[in-house]
Subunit: 769 residues, 2 copies
Amino acid sequence: MDHNVDIEYEGGEHVERNGSAYDERGMPRQPLLSKNRINTSSQIAIVGSNICPIESLDYEILENDLFKQDWRSRKKTEIFQYVVMKWTLCLLIGLLTGVVAFFNNLGVENLAGFKFLLTTNFMLQHKYYEAFFIFAGINLFLAVCAGALCAYIAPAAAGSGIPEVKAYLNGIDSHSILAPSTLFVKIVGSILGVAAGFVVGKEGPMVHTGACIANLLGQGGSRKYHLTCKWLRHFKNDRDRRDLITCGSAAGVAAAFRAPVGGVLFALEEVASWWRSALLWRTFFTTAVVAVVLRSLIGFCRTGKCGLFGEGGLIMFDINSTIPNYNMVDLLAVILIGVIGGILGSLYNYFVDKVVRTYSYINGKGPMVRVILVAVISLLTSCCAFGLPWFTTCVPCPVGLEVECPMVGRSGSYKYFNCQPGHYNDLGSLLLNTNDDAIRSVFSSTNPNEFRISSLSIFFIAMYVLGIITYGIAIPSGLFIPVILAGASYGRLVGILLVNFSNLDVGLFALLGAAAFLGGTMRMTVSLCVILLELTNNLLMLPLMMLVLLISKSVADNFNHGVYDQIVRMKGLPFLEAHAEPYMRHLVAGDVVSGPLISFSGVEKVGTIMHSLRFTSHNGFPVIDEPPLLESPEFCGVVLRSHLIVLLKGKMFTKDRRLTGTEMLQKYHAFDFAKAGLGRGPKLEDLDITPEEMEMYVDLHPITNTSTYTVAETMSLAKAAVAFRELGLRHLCVVPKTHGRPPVVGILTRHDFMPQHILGLYPGIDLQH
Amino acid sequence: MDHNVDIEYEGGEHVERNGSAYDERGMPRQPLLSKNRINTSSQIAIVGSNICPIESLDYEILENDLFKQDWRSRKKTEIFQYVVMKWTLCLLIGLLTGVVAFFNNLGVENLAGFKFLLTTNFMLQHKYYEAFFIFAGINLFLAVCAGALCAYIAPAAAGSGIPEVKAYLNGIDSHSILAPSTLFVKIVGSILGVAAGFVVGKEGPMVHTGACIANLLGQGGSRKYHLTCKWLRHFKNDRDRRDLITCGSAAGVAAAFRAPVGGVLFALEEVASWWRSALLWRTFFTTAVVAVVLRSLIGFCRTGKCGLFGEGGLIMFDINSTIPNYNMVDLLAVILIGVIGGILGSLYNYFVDKVVRTYSYINGKGPMVRVILVAVISLLTSCCAFGLPWFTTCVPCPVGLEVECPMVGRSGSYKYFNCQPGHYNDLGSLLLNTNDDAIRSVFSSTNPNEFRISSLSIFFIAMYVLGIITYGIAIPSGLFIPVILAGASYGRLVGILLVNFSNLDVGLFALLGAAAFLGGTMRMTVSLCVILLELTNNLLMLPLMMLVLLISKSVADNFNHGVYDQIVRMKGLPFLEAHAEPYMRHLVAGDVVSGPLISFSGVEKVGTIMHSLRFTSHNGFPVIDEPPLLESPEFCGVVLRSHLIVLLKGKMFTKDRRLTGTEMLQKYHAFDFAKAGLGRGPKLEDLDITPEEMEMYVDLHPITNTSTYTVAETMSLAKAAVAFRELGLRHLCVVPKTHGRPPVVGILTRHDFMPQHILGLYPGIDLQH
């Protein structure tokens, strides 16, 4: 289990750090660090379903002789190929994500529509028990299918996926998070899960889907089947893949909400850790493609060839409320909505955290248990959806309505449910419907009295509670829709209560309520604002929407973190924050780094390298040029484990300690050292080194990254952290200040900047200053 | 003149670098570098009106003992004060920028409205000569006022201001670019200039105004009049000021276009060089305040209390075109618009560049000449506006029109001009009108035949040419409005030509044409898209708008740079690009740095410091701890010129070489070393050091930034450039690789990364690889 935590530790294991390097300080760290270790372990244990090795990614440009030679020899055509492929890949990502999103919608609408048609049929014949069994049965079947896929094939596909993609773009590669199997289960599981009537969205999964598609496209086909695309070889590194995945996640949001600008902003504000102007431009292109693809496909469906699917244009919830000139009372109402929304949103996060921790424990018992949990929640959801409307009375249909009332045929508002003719069940209209239709109903302002206070209250409570207890079970589950459902019903409720005081209509109140809830849970501002504007096509709401988002975020920030950050922490992913913590100012880089450091000589004995690779889990090793090659030891750079394995596999060994760089540059090509796809690179176990070869030497210079960033040991930890994060590093070498010591005293990795690590070393530290 | 270039050079002047350090390479650099120097100088000479010293800004966190002590002793109330002030300042920036933008609009509408009323009055009486003299006379008067203000009071207020703000946020402080006088002239000059009928916008100047307001608020009142706010003292550094100015520029865009989300994106995409999520959140708050303030003030004006001002809501050009289902022909038309728009846009940039270079030469002759140039362009503009409509024939008014035709009273469409009753002059309606009204007319789609092909063609050419020849004269002049004017008329022209083939109406074509031109000149994507959407309140245009922007930017990028980048380059500002150039990979940090380096000992003789300060223009000096304090020399950190002057002013000198750090920490406060407002800090000339004091010693440790980032001399220049840019550095120390040399071999500043510097040193370098 500790493997998870320690796999990336360089320069000694946790225990070594603790035991050896800092005893002279005389602090009682040993017991505290041990405690901390247990905490970390138990944290991992809690998310038992996600036991997987994590690995850091190399977002730094590696400059070794081999790569430099490659750059220098790169022809104009190759540079042209790179640029063409860059845009082609963005085009493909947009295209595929758009198509997947379309089929997702198509699948959900048809499955759910068929289910509701069947159920309504029995209801009309007053066969209520049969109706319930059909309804709950179909739900259970779909749910178990989704759960089984998640539990048995790709556990990484469970949940929203946004936290994992966020962590990936921060430099943390969780196991198989972007694998083909994950992609498949995410797409199918999401369709099944949403169609099964769970209070989950398809938005989070779409982001994950987009990222998976981008990752697979970037890997460029299968090497096994000789289907690799030669033009894609320049993308075989973490850096270019990161850009593609950023585009993919933007495409996912754009496809889910049909909000291209919102998608770009979402990627910028929430998902990506590094951003540059060029990326804005590429993500924008990708989401534009998504918008065009979706628009065309939906236009095709308008002709009625897509079964039960056919509703909606490019904008999902077209609110046609007129925007009045709001007055002071309206502003007060908006502020109230924001404050309460912020509080309820942070409470939502709190409960989600507790529930997910509990579920992780349950899920850890095995795949079978996970499927059972999914089944239980499915039955509970079905009972709520079918049972709760019985507690309300029927409402007479309003006169002069443009739509059918009571509605019997397909999904929509004014559901017949159990009512006498000319009446409809308002709670049934909300609960016995797809999530999208329910949101559309709550946002609608054509009939302010469509839903009564009592029904809305029940619906709000049901959505709030079901949303919380559904996240964390083994199905792909987005958080946006549950939060919008709860928020919109809460907002409409407030609107009905304030109808005599305010100029705003109930539909707008619902929109503001949804914004307040989203602000309170997700803690985004600009991207949510733009997504909601694009969803509802209502630019004049902008100032009020901004106000409510600012207030709810500010209020909620006083209590806890955003829901995605919370999940990242809970999963124990070593996420690097953009800012350094205040207490890091009073520590120096040398304080958190520790020995003994494992380093290699410029021309090293094969046996030494093999030993180090076998008996440590380090991924980067400093290379030090030593006498007799030089007068005094000099720091040369860092080699990566993966490059070492490739080098050893080539067996270009020499009997004596001499430089073989030029020969190696002829034999190897930079492409040999490119980042392989998931689990495809050569492994340490595959190496077959004879005892004689163990005694031979190998020249490490051609694969040593000679432009490694370094910090002096007296550099403040805060500024080392800033450099580590801003430059996207994986290893940061610490060099000594004084002469007469080895040229490198240690390596900092992202774990060394984690608060729990530092607070474990220095428990007495002042956190505020 | 060379002062401009050299003021920031550390570690030796240009000539020294050239002469001494690289002779052994045997490259014929001497003549080439000299040539380069001449080039640079002539570049500066061209922009003669902007002869001003530039200084780099410290965006790095300085960690010296004094500051560290301050952080440690900071009380909770102080941290609270800081947070409160941060948000209060954003609120104030939004508030003031909104109010200024409102008064700007108010002033322009009233001045221009009065002018047009007077002119129309004479026209109605057929006194055409009198009308022209009144029209041209008022224009000339307003223009000369604006020109005189710019030429005599604040030359920095001329032009758009966006390039300078962009450079500031990149770390380059041009002289008095954010001074109070600049702010005053920018506001008043912009009102006068736009009212004078120039083809200029108020948008660029608003961005500059917002940045100036932010800068002044951040400086916190006047120290001279004891009006400083104690709570603001934590903002007295370049880093916090940078954030405020980012908020200010976003507020400026938000106010100019009444586009709050567009403002945030503009700041992100075009203006800011460093960005973090927290900033998104603060700029969003600022622009939200702007939106609310503007909305309230404009709501007040609807009651008719603002004179001739009263048009328009929060959205400037409310396009009510219906969006049809566009087909393949429409898409082809859109692509065509994008391609031609991109070509014309890049041509626009090309001509602007040529014209501005010419004008800079003329402007260099003195303020009087500048005013004359303004007067000439004003007369030319008046002649065009009044003269060109005579070349067209009158058009009969269409029947069933909702607005008055021909219009006589106030500004608007369907101008009477010289026509018989029941007719209007379509070209006159466009030319004899404010820019805003002209744009509104071209965007309008109520009457597709309102403007004829001939009139639109003349208008397009007039706007294209006038826009080019107006930018660069000594008035505050935005580029957005000229580009939108030319682009919209071009788009409408295409629309009229394609009316039989396309479903889109002429108003939409005009919008797409404006987008194509903006994309072709400014090269922004997401922010332009959102600004245009917010301007026109038409979300359904999004996919087409994205397409046209992508195409026009892609096309134009093949020819030259965006107009703002071009102006930054032309002004000779050492702007750091986000990416390193390919040829930098094959140089190392040591290749561009050169000796002799001027460094100080940890405890240094006062005379040595005074001598270095006087006879070099360096702003940062490495501090090296030497024997006898240490066994061997060790690099301690970097001290800044400004801090040294404050330290010398305090005169805490000792007779012998000893450490006085602890006493100094008691005597000085971090606030003493805070960044002073413009031109307010103590100056070298103010120091009064006696000859005895010159022989004494001063301890530099308390003000030495001990956490200086360093790179090894063998680090590739590309990666050093990335670190320099990403970490927001001003000085980057280069340390030696081998032992037995001084602990610092040189300092890199932003000038060392400039292509002209590197290409001057290595003229034979391969630019492509």
